[in-house]
Subunit: 285 residues, 2 copies
């Protein structure tokens, strides 16, 4: 157990891949004593018990948060904002509330409706899987990943506890403002997703020409197989930053277009070399 | 040994990852009796001997093709076209000539300069690796992959031998015209490469914000780490089809742009669902 990281009762609302993995990891690390799992589907709740992610379950968020000193909301972003509003009156004093959404400005705005007696810290674990659902949850899902945290002003104690819990589950806490977060992930995550999806859409039936498809296209488009409901909400709640990132990308594409149209091999070489150098900045392939 | 697939002496010109893997695979399958490796660098030639890809080596393509009944050219596309011109006078009657380039119209045009006494079959193995060089060559590189073949009109015997050799090294021969080939791979391979590179270029320094980078971006941009010289020639020799594919992609991106700018969640859902369905057409993630 990590000092200061321990919670007596955690309500995990939306106990799927992320919520379930957090619960498993927290239990394994000894920092979550009891976990109450919340989902709309009874089947998900049965699975949460089966895989050991939750001690008990309910379909009612209000029931789950009573007596909880940690509330972990792992639903799609817009649903999370609604849940915050719904549970606000039932939260215990001193409770730490966090979420696991991929955009942060929307949820931070919603969290302003929370009473002063609770501490809200937005969260975004930089880990995932193509698989979905609590059945795919893994205690080591966050190992070695960064875990972005966007605290509400004044939520110092909740931030300290979240930092400790994040370390306990094997991840690296990184504190950042919601604005910087949304701008950066628009470029490093949301734009890549949009492009992968648009590429699949543009290819259409050509995706079935398997004899003409190599590992490059599979890698490039893998994320387009992700859950539509989650990605719709991510893109919608970060539309301004995604559009800004998209414009930067379209400028760059324009340079490629011009080099190809003019048969300018030197310009193309320069573009490809710059791209290669940028890619190397990411480290591991 | 597969019937009709055996060659007494193969000259592999450009004995790097692909040429070296073909040599290793052909030797292992017993369909290449002797391999003469050609490269410009003495170090590459020493490596080719060391890993067992070649029995003997030379820096001179003309010397290598004398006495060869198979010539396998695995240099970047424009270099391959020049090499065909260079070796044409020295080729043995009845010799099978092939290449391993990712575009096929350019090389087919160059192959028209070959004497009628040799059979040219363009080739494009749909396999590769992020690693380069003969040191990374593997006998099983082509296992389970498709291997596209674009025969010259009348090169029936050479085509039959190439089909047999391709099967012998564990790949699936797929015969297609150079035009259809270039149009399809513009969409399934060259456009994805261009987009991955343009994304890296547009991200620039953001590629170093590793705490904000997940597996999605790494997957999406992996191919942008590929060799610049090879990709420059691929894109340049298929510029018309790549530009056509790019325009189709930009249309699709325009639909995403509109949905985001208008906050039209239903339109976005539809786009993401269509993309997901297309991606599923590729089979394995």
């Amino acid at each position: 157990m990590v000092d200061g990281a321990s919670f007596e009762r955690a309500a995990v609302i939306g106990i799927g891949l992320i919520g379930g993995s957090f619960a498993l990891a927290g239990r394994e690390a000894g920092v979550l004593r009891e976990v109450v799992g919340v989902a709309r589907s009874e089947r998900t709740l049965r699975d949460a018990i089966r895989v050991g992610a939750a001690h008990r379950t309910t379909t009612d968020p209000l029931e789950a948060v009573r007596g909880a000193d940690l509330v972990y909301i792992a639903t799609p972003v817009i649903a999370s904002a609604r849940i915050i509003e719904q549970i606000a009156p039932a939260l215990e004093d001193g409770c730490t509330v966090t979420d696991a959404g991929s955009t942060k400005r929307e949820i931070m705005a919603a969290a302003e409706a929370l009473p002063d007696s609770v501490g809200f810290v937005g969260g975004h674990p930089m880990a995932g899987s193509e698989q979905a659902g609590v059945g795919a949850a893994q205690a080591d899902l966050f190992h070695g990943s960064s875990y972005l945290l966007t605290p509400m002003p004044g939520a110092d104690e909740a931030l300290a506890r979240m930092r400790a819990v994040v370390r306990a589950i094997g991840a690296r806490p990184v504190v950042v403002s919601a604005e910087v977060h949304d701008s950066l992930v628009a470029r490093t995550s949301h734009l890549p997703h949009l492009l992968a999806a648009a590429l699949c859409g543009a290819l259409g039936d050509a995706c079935e020409e398997r004899e003409f498809i190599g590992s490059g296209l599979r890698d490039t488009t893998r994320i387009a197989a992700g859950p539509v409901d989650v990605w719709r909400e991510i893109l919608m709640t970060n539309a301004d930053e995604v559009l800004r990132a998209l414009d930067g990308f379209l400028d760059e594409v324009g340079s490629y277009r011009q080099a190809l149209a003019e048969g300018d091999g030197d310009a193309l070489t320069q573009l490809l070399e710059d791209a290669r150098r940028s890619r190397e900045g990411m480290g591991d392939p």
